[in-house]
Symmetry: C2
Subunit: 158 residues, 2 copies
DNA sequence: TCGAGATCTCTCAATCATTGAGATATCCTC
DNA sequence: GAGGATATCTCAATGATTGAGAGATCTCGA
């Protein structure tokens, strides 16, 4: 009754549903903080970027799919609200690095703690090797989607 | 060196990264179709809703985290562009059902076919029981996040 | 060393998506 | 029926996003 095709379809739907649910969490956080959805996405991207130098506006542009003007506006808002601050790169003074303010990190951390508990709870339902499988899947899936986007961008540069 | 805490953190980051990547696919589709990111999210939600009666504006409101005014605007745009159409429920004439136009479905289907291939490719790297594990994980994760959001909404109704 | 081109960020005006309150129509229950 | 609840839409105000272009800095070849 449930053919391979249906399985695939269900699979995609599952992924979409999860992504959508995570988006909504962002919306809720935004509403709770008096921020806008885009600002939250940007803030999370900044928090996620632990590579020492932080993330640049250009990186955010790529990560959020916004134009440069929009990124500047987002960062202005976040900076005005005290969540992040900008520093110029000493080596390449064209570049700007965005850093989060520790308080912003704590705020986000506190708010997302219940979410982390959710993750833990689900995680604890799986055996270690199953978790490893899931991690492998998530990693591969992300890689493949990244590659797909990159390919498309190269094939259609404008 | 990598403690449990770090593992958790990495796990959340993985999920976020995947969700973000899927979001970007939406952005790309939007750009390709001359739509806006929100419109695409809405269109996908409509396509995803296969429960026979379709989805209502209220359902979209919940699914996209928008206000009623915004949903009306989104649907106006999608309807004007010929992607969806609205019908009134015969039994409850307050309600509206949103249906996609077959051409819109085909358009989205064609565009997302390479994405489906991505999913298939990754999927084929896993044994059947591993796929089952991943499906179980995705399902549980979505359920838990849904529940978390619901709990929060009930605790803080306004 | 200099200059052309590339890269990164920001500015600014125009556009248009979103909010939020309220209007309208319909349903449900007493 | 009347009152309250529910679902959607309207509309003015707000402000986020776009897109072109300016400014500053770097890179590399002549």
């Amino acid at each position: 009754m449930v053919a391979q095709r249906d399985g695939d379809r269900e699979f995609g739907r599952l992924l979409q549903g999860l992504a959508s649910e995570m988006n909504l969490l962002g919306h809720d956080f935004a509403a709770a903080q008096g921020l806008h959805a885009t600002d939250v996405q940007a803030l999370l991207a900044v928090l996620r970027a632990t590579d020492p130098p932080g993330i640049t506006p250009g990186g955010l542009r790529a990560e959020l799919g916004l134009t440069s003007g929009a990124v500047t506006a987002v960062l202005d808002r976040l900076e005005r609200a005290g969540h992040v601050h900008r520093t110029r790169d000493a080596a390449d003074r064209r570049q700007v690095h965005v850093h989060y303010h520790p308080d912003a990190a704590r705020l986000a951390f506190d708010w997302f703690t219940p979410v982390a508990h959710c993750t833990d709870r689900v995680r604890s339902e799986f055996r270690a090797e199953e978790v490893a499988t899931v991690v492998r899947f998530l990693t591969r899936m992300t890689e493949e989607l990244e590659r797909l986007r990159q390919d498309r961008r190269e094939r259609q540069p404008r």
